[in-house]
Subunit: 511 residues, 2 copies
């Protein structure tokens, strides 16, 4: 009966529609009588629909829902979500560096320059930036590449770090490293069959950008058994496979210290990659945003730029783009969206196009630019702000090192779980074995097995991690990424919750 | 002799190269002996090479050079460049609104919350944002759509303005309006034959984005004779032309108040456009960043959202994206790169994809988000900051109105020059007649005639405007865009310089 009524009503509507159509076609050549939405199904860009970004994907989205439910009084075995999905240090109560915040406040409200609440070096720093930025200070668009004295700060920082020349014309300030990476990708994707080599596991920004630009990610696997090193034979394998498939490969991405994998690439490994780029004619994209997050005493961060400059002369034309950020290190100023991009060996033509591209968005936000100035020109010994700065810096870095150690130790005690040493960055990426039965259940739910695991962990403990499938992993292996950022004093509790859930999960699905 | 030596040395180098090549081919299968740069010529993305962005193009680039030359002591008939190319108010000494700067400083350095240097309402404002942003305050990534209380501020602002409902789930905070426009364009360009209708003259961001996304700008001319109105017949003409050429047109951009044209579109005109979008199944992109820059008493700004909501029910599915910014209005906080995007009638699927897209860049910078909070939740009557706020606001807006009047009057006195009323925004876009002889000279130099004019103006007076060809104009007509932003006290001098150069230019090329 109900079905019939519905049918009748539909028929009636169709009747009206037909009459209306006839009426409209009289009143106006183009008249329609209904508007069908454009942005649905294939009306939405396919590249957008295909782009994946797991760091804020299914598991974190569920975490936000649970957080909301908790606020509304729903009871759970935990009272808040522990967000280990994003490297967002300050959100997990890792404090900011006071000097950075002081200079930012002084630039935003220069009336404070006469206040006694600020140290003299922070005031000098702010005055110098305001003089260079011009009358509008932090409220005006800067040059498309950034405020000139801040570009100079970046150049000085790079030269101190590498002992090799840099130039303001090769430095662009960006809205976080992501923005700089996006600029270079846009420049590099010359046609629809362009490919760029990206590591697996990778920070998923790269594949997402390639998808948005209609290009192909040419994936190469990191060697988990050798602490996530890059193997030349694997680069050759991947390159050849995609080359044979007709892909024109024009770049290679490397991330060191690694995200999500935490390794620091050795100089000899970087030399191999530079030689590979030289032989295959590839632009190198060096993601070095974690360069100040090194926890092992056995290794030091070395920039790709420095290694390149110290190789024989034949390599001195290899094109390189290096990225840095205000969001990581011990600064953790994620909310600023500050970053820089340094290009090496770019042609004048490429520089000109890059400048134009940067101009289309006018400039990077000044607050982020100023944060980059503070990071590259931080207080030195003898300056009034140095003692506080140094104390804040060393407290954070030593605590991160302890947390990295704790997390990898804890992971390695879990049954069927192994975790490489977290040498740097802000993440552990342990491998977990997932019982066949759990894999079967996941399959039935149309989920990756590691998504099933991560969702289960979230629902039972409130700990939010990102499944390994969001970063890519060798087929048949399962991982997750967790940050090392929860407060140090919470670690025993968090690790116990982790362990308990892991045992419960294995029990549930084993045998 | 010198030539011969060079030749000999070249031959020697070639010899070495050949031997090296032979050596390398033995030592490694892939060895090459030189690296040819990737990023040059067709190695650089064609879409990037084709994108144009005149606001920072040839003329402004030359202006920066001259500025540098002046600093180095070169003599000119002027002592500094007057940048009228970018709507960058604070750079031209238009002061910021103190309240905005206070809240920004308080959020960046919360130790100031105990300082007596700040009014209580600014402190309350900052505390509310910090509570909503969570532990990291302005130093942490926010939700991909923005800090939740700031999204609510935007919703309240829209509801007060329009008297129609909005929702936090439909509001995204962005890095300036440009970023929001770019998000929607990415969503909308479903294939390589997608087209989006853009006005001519237009703010060139739109064509640049379409070029970068490989889509077609479907250009429609504004009617200069009717104060830059949008004519339905012209929309139909443009649509049909491109539709016949096989372009799938999926959106229409309108800018009101106009950039570069300064007009305010009437409600009846907006109704026509909404009806057109309804009939043609187009998403409307409404660029309303100048909504608080209205100088005529005859017209009021009305948002497309409001007009849409007050049309008959059949229109209530038309998809609309509206953009606003912290950079314009009387705030002029360009350096913040703050903005918002409101979507109306978007499907859940489109919202989900938009959220994912926003997530790939993590979030808009917090400083810009906070600026948007100050703009949408500014001091009200009775609050401690209101008197200062109101004085700053009305001083700036009334001065802008006087400057708009002065500039259009001055332009209309120039020989062969006519300028529509600057009803709003920050620009005048006068039409100039350029003598045949000048057009000939321009042709010989491979330049647009209006570029020749603008370069000449720059070299002789230091005034930097953008040639009309950078925005598009009817063939055979010439224009330039100048901001109304130079300091009011400089206006007589600037206008005199303008006039003198104009006469000189006509004399030089006439007869």
């Amino acid at each position: 009966m109900r079905g019939f009524a519905l049918f009748a009503s539909l028929s009636k509507r169709r009747l009206i529609t037909v009459s209306l159509k006839r009426y409209c076609s009289v009143s106006s050549k183009y008249a329609a009588n209904s508007y069908e939405k454009v942005l649905k199904g294939i009306g939405i860009s396919n590249s957008v629909r295909e782009a994946q970004y797991a760091v804020r994907g299914e598991v974190p989205t569920r975490a936000l829902q649970i957080e909301e439910e908790l606020k509304q009084g729903n009871k759970r075995p935990f009272d808040h979500i522990i967000f280990c999905n994003v490297g967002n240090p300050q959100q997990l109560a890792n404090p900011p560096i006071s000097y950075v915040r002081q200079v930012l406040a002084l630039c935003d409200y220069p009336e404070l320059l006469s206040s006694s609440q600020f140290p003299s070096d922070a005031k000098e720093h702010a005055k110098r930036i305001l003089a260079s930025a011009g009358k509008g200070g932090s409220g005006a668009y800067s040059n498309s590449g950034g405020v000139s004295c801040i570009r100079q700060d970046v150049v000085d920082f790079i030269q101190r770090r590498d002992n090799h020349e840099s130039s303001v014309n090769h430095v662009f300030l960006t809205n976080g490293a992501s923005d700089g990476i996006s600029l270079i990708m846009k420049l590099l994707i010359a046609s629809s069959n362009t490919g760029v080599m990206v590591p697996v596991p990778e920070y998923p920004l790269y594949s997402a950008l390639l998808s948005l630009l209609g290009a192909t990610p040419v994936r190469y696997y990191l060697n988990e058994d050798n602490n996530w090193s890059i193997e030349l034979s694997e680069l050759e394998r991947s390159y050849e496979t995609f080359e044979k498939a007709g892909i024109a490969i024009s770049g290679i991405v490397l991330i060191s210290p690694g995200n999500p994998t935490g390794q620091i690439l050795e100089r000899s490994n970087l030399e191999q990659i530079i030689d590979f780029a030289y032989r295959k004619r590839l632009v190198i994209l060096a993601d070095e945003v974690y360069q100040e997050n090194v926890y092992t005493k056995q290794k030091k961060f070395v920039s790709v730029k420095k290694v390149l400059r110290e190789m024989p002369s034949k390599y001195q034309d290899v094109e390189l783009a290096s990225f840095h950020s205000a969001s990581k290190g011990f600064y953790g100023e994620c909310g600023r969206r500050g970053g820089y991009l340094e290009v090496t060996n770019f042609s004048d033509e490429a520089l000109e196009q890059l400048y134009k591209l940067a101009s289309i968005n006018l400039c990077a936000n000044l607050n982020g630019q100023i944060a980059m100035s503070c990071i590259t020109r931080h207080p030195r010994q003898g300056m009034p702000s140095y003692p506080r700065f140094e104390e804040e810096r060393s407290n954070l870095l030593s605590s991160y090192a302890r947390r990295a150690e704790m997390i990898q130790t804890a992971m390695n005690t879990l049954e069927g779980c192994s975790c490489n040493q977290v040498e740097g960055a802000m993440y552990a990426f342990p491998k977990i074995s997932i019982p066949q039965k759990a894999q079967q259940v996941a399959k039935e739910q149309g989920k990756h097995p590691d998504v099933l695991y991560a969702l289960s962990l979230l629902e039972h403990t409130g700990i939010c991690v990102v499944p390994g499938s969001g970063f890519g992993q060798k087929p048949g292996t399962f991982h997750f990424r967790t940050t090392i950022l929860p407060p140090e004093e919470d670690f025993p509790k968090v690790m116990t919750a982790f362990q308990k859930h892991h045992e419960w999960f294995l029990n549930k699905y084993q045998g």
